[in-house]
């Protein structure tokens, strides 16, 4: 009203308007400025209180704040994840632990129940009987396992028949408890009206209602009725308990019962009293069983034993595979592959030298059961030392006079046996150095001594000398290099030479060899002389290398041998034997 009045006045009074303008400034500038300076202090003083007042008044603060809080949480989560995880970790950790524990316990219980109910003969019989009786299996179980059980209790307001509270044994109680309580009240009214009052003049009332499946027990107080739905054979103590509880409720909730106007929330706290009525008693035979979920434990035990057996087998077979891989250290056996097939057997592929140890013997030695091993074997020749030794030993069995020590054979053999042995040894696979192996054998009856006839030796010497003298080594034009053919030739010449020297020893002859170099006619005489000497020297060196002593060799160059018919001329080295009698016969 006053603003209305003043605005009217100001319209009529331009002076007042002017004054206002001076005091407040244009558009109340002065006031707003003055307020703005202290705005922070003013607002902070009443900030929290104002929030609370407004929230209490219409709850609008919550609405405004919720989206802001959502946004800030979202921001924090996406930008400072680490801290958030840190805050939540202790909570989440314990929650997860708890729920896992609960889950496991429940799982064991459930599994046991399932097994007991479905696998045992009793369970199957019950299932059959429940079907025959046409009632749900769960109900049948309850009737079989419990002497009695209070399934649900209702607390009903007596006057209106309205439900005040209800509590059920399993949480999924009937959703129409309020309808049931009204119906019960109507039935009770019907009964009390249909039958005459009793002797004391009290109304008749329902006390117990019995059906095939359950019993309804009603205990009426002045303002409320307590009803229990009981399955099984209900003992008197249930009724006593109900009576006690309804009296207790009347004592505790008397004013609420009197002033009940339809709001049942006042009775939400009497759960405790109602819970006292949810009593049950197991049948004797069932009591022991309920305590331990032994079926589940047995199944778990079986699983554990199975897993233990499997892991033992696995460990065992793994160790066999590991052991088998060491077969490679055995001479003459090559492991190509060793693989485990499940836990039952191992398949192995090996290469084996026929002289090596049998794989099965090896397995038996290592205590690996042969029936577990599927063996695929392919033969090969091994050059390993022990195998070579074993091959050699096999040969030596036939020569008992010989002993094999440190890779060389010693002992005595006659000439025939020696050649036989040498032949066999040379045929052994992988035998490279038979000479040094056999070098220590003393041949008791050497070949040369058989020919005691001097004439015969002489004939042999003559034969060898003619062979020696007839030999020649060819060279390329203007070259002193030995060709491969030349090398071969020199080898042959060296052999003959050595034989001659040994024969010479026996016959007390002195022998030396002349190596004669020559050249063709191309080029100057002096050059060719040098060339021929060089060729002779080369061959002499080669013979020396092959074991002919240097003092038995004389190299000479004779320069050009002009043989036009030969074409190439005489680019060769020739040999000659000089035979003298020993100085002391």
């Amino acid at each position: 009203m006053s603003t209305q009045g003043s605005s009217n006045e100001s319209e009529h009074d331009p002076q007042l308007q002017e004054l206002r303008k001076i005091l407040f400034g244009k558009d109340n500038q002065h006031i707003t400025q003055a307020l703005r300076q202290n705005a922070r202090a003013i607002v902070s003083e009443v900030f929290s209180e104002a929030f609370k007042d407004r929230q209490d008044k219409d709850g609008s603060v919550k609405k405004v704040m919720a989206p802001l809080v959502d946004k800030s949480v979202e921001y924090s989560v996406s930008n400072r994840k680490e801290q958030f995880v840190g805050y939540l970790y202790p909570i989440v950790g314990s929650v997860v632990r708890k729920s896992v524990t609960a889950f496991l316990t429940e799982f064991i219980e459930r599994t046991n129940q399932l097994l007991e109910n479905s696998l045992t003969i009793k369970g199957l019989t019950w299932r059959f009987q429940a079907r025959q009786a046409g009632i749900p299996y769960a109900t049948y179980i309850a009737s079989q396992t419990f002497n009695y059980r209070v399934e649900q209790v209702f607390l009903i307001h007596r006057e209106t028949g309205l439900l005040l509270n209800t509590l059920a044994y399993n949480q999924q109680s009937s959703g129409d408890a309020d309808l049931i309580s009204s119906m019960l009240t109507a039935i009770n009214d019907f009964v009390s009206d249909s039958f005459r009052p009793n002797k004391d003049g009290h109304e008749q009332g329902l006390d117990i209602v019995k059906t095939d499946d359950f019993t309804l027990v009603l205990k009426a107080g002045p303002s409320a009725i307590l009803v229990a739905a009981v399955t099984g054979n209900m003992p008197q103590k249930v009724a006593n308990q109900l009576q006690q509880t309804i009296e207790e409720i009347h004592t505790l909730y008397d004013p609420q019962l009197r002033e009940f106007k339809g709001d049942a929330s006042a009775f939400a706290d009497c759960d405790q009293q109602l819970a006292d009525c949810l009593v049950s008693e197991l049948k004797d035979s069932e009591k022991g069983k309920e305590s331990k979920p032994w079926m589940a434990w047995i199944i778990l035990l079986f699983i554990a034993i199975g897993a233990g057996y499997y892991s033992y087998k696995l460990w065992q077979i793994q160790s066999y595979v590991h052991q088998i891989s060491s077969i490679n250290q055995e001479a003459g056996i090559m492991l190509v592959r060793a693989q485990r097939n499940g836990i039952k057997d191992i398949s192995i592929d090996v290469l084996r030298d026929p002289d090596a140890e049998e794989v099965n013997n090896w397995l038996a030695e290592k205590n690996i059961p042969q029936e577990m091993v599927r063996l695929t074997e392919k033969p090969y020749l091994s050059l390993e030392e022990p195998i070579m030794q074993s091959r050699l030993s096999k040969v030596l069995v036939q020569f008992p006079s010989l002993t094999l020590v440190n890779n060389s054979i010693s002992g005595e053999l006659d000439h025939q046996q020696y050649f036989d042995l040498r032949n066999r040894v040379q045929q052994l696979p992988g035998m490279l150095d038979s000479e040094s192996l056999l070098g220590q054998i003393s041949v008791t009856n050497p070949l040369t001594l058989q020919m005691d006839d001097v004439e015969n030796i002489q004939t042999l010497i003559d034969l060898k000398i003619s062979q020696f003298n007839g030999a020649s080594i060819e060279f390329a034009s203007n070259s002193t290099q030995l060709t491969p053919e030349a090398q071969d030739g020199i080898g042959t010449v060296a052999k003959i030479g050595k034989t001659l020297l040994s024969l010479a020893k026996q016959t007390e002859l002195e022998m030396s060899f002349i190596v004669i170099g020559a050249s063709d006619a191309k080029g100057t005489r002096s050059y060719n002389e040098v060339l021929s000497i060089k060729r002779a020297q080369t061959v002499k060196n080669a013979l020396q290398m092959r074991g002919i002593p240097a003092d038995k060799l004389n190299a000479v160059g004779i320069g050009i041998i002009d043989v036009p018919a030969a074409g190439n001329g005489a680019r060769k080295v020739l040999f000659n034997v000089i035979k003298t009698h020993a100085t002391q016969p």
Binding site: G59, E159, T160, L162, D178, A186, D189, G262
Partner: protein
């Protein structure tokens, strides 16, 4: 704001002469779950329905009381603790109004509670024997009068929500 609403339960009795459509009226309002056999055995059929009001939820326990006529009367115990009664009369039968008024008077002797008059079967056309002012006089003791149709659902919701509001406002006083 979906805050928790206090739930108030109320017992309501529905009365009326035979055949006026009490059961149909309730059926229109709720889907009944109890079998009709209750009607013949103990003469009452009970349904429930929740009405959401601003601050409260009202749960009606609707007692459909059957078998009343002017000769046999009715079971007065059924009215005990009721918060209100609904008298149902038949729009096509003037006689049912008289019977309804008689029933109301009987009920009033047992319990002095608010009553609502429901003139049912308004979907059917008829010659109404009562003048408007006569009707007004007869319905004066009732706190509300509704012309309903259980068939089309006319005014049925309105009747119950009005009743809920009325009971709530009484409770506040």
């Amino acid at each position: 704001m979906d805050s928790y609403k206090i739930m108030i339960q109320k017992k309501i009795c529905v009365l009326g002469a035979s055949g006026v459509g009490k059961t149909s009226l309730i059926k229109q309002y709720v889907e009944g779950i109890f079998s009709e056999k209750y009607l013949t055995s103990i003469g009452v059929k009970i349904d429930k329905k929740q009405v959401q009001c601003e601050s409260h939820t009202v749960q009606f326990m609707l007692w459909d009381i059957e078998g009343i006529d002017r000769y046999c009367g009715f079971q007065p115990k059924y009215l005990r603790g009721a918060a209100a009664i609904i008298i149902v009369v038949d729009h096509t039968r003037a006689q049912s109004l008289i019977e309804g008024i008689e029933i109301y008077n009987l009920a009033k002797d047992v319990a002095n509670i608010p009553a609502i008059l429901a003139i049912n079967k308004t979907d059917l056309s008829t010659e109404w024997h009562w003048e408007e002012d006569e009707l007004a006089e007869l319905s004066s003791p009732f706190s509300h009068t509704f012309c309903t149709s259980a068939k089309t659902g006319d005014n049925v919701e309105l009747l119950f929500s009005t009743l809920a509001l009325q009971l709530l406002s009484e409770a506040e006083q």
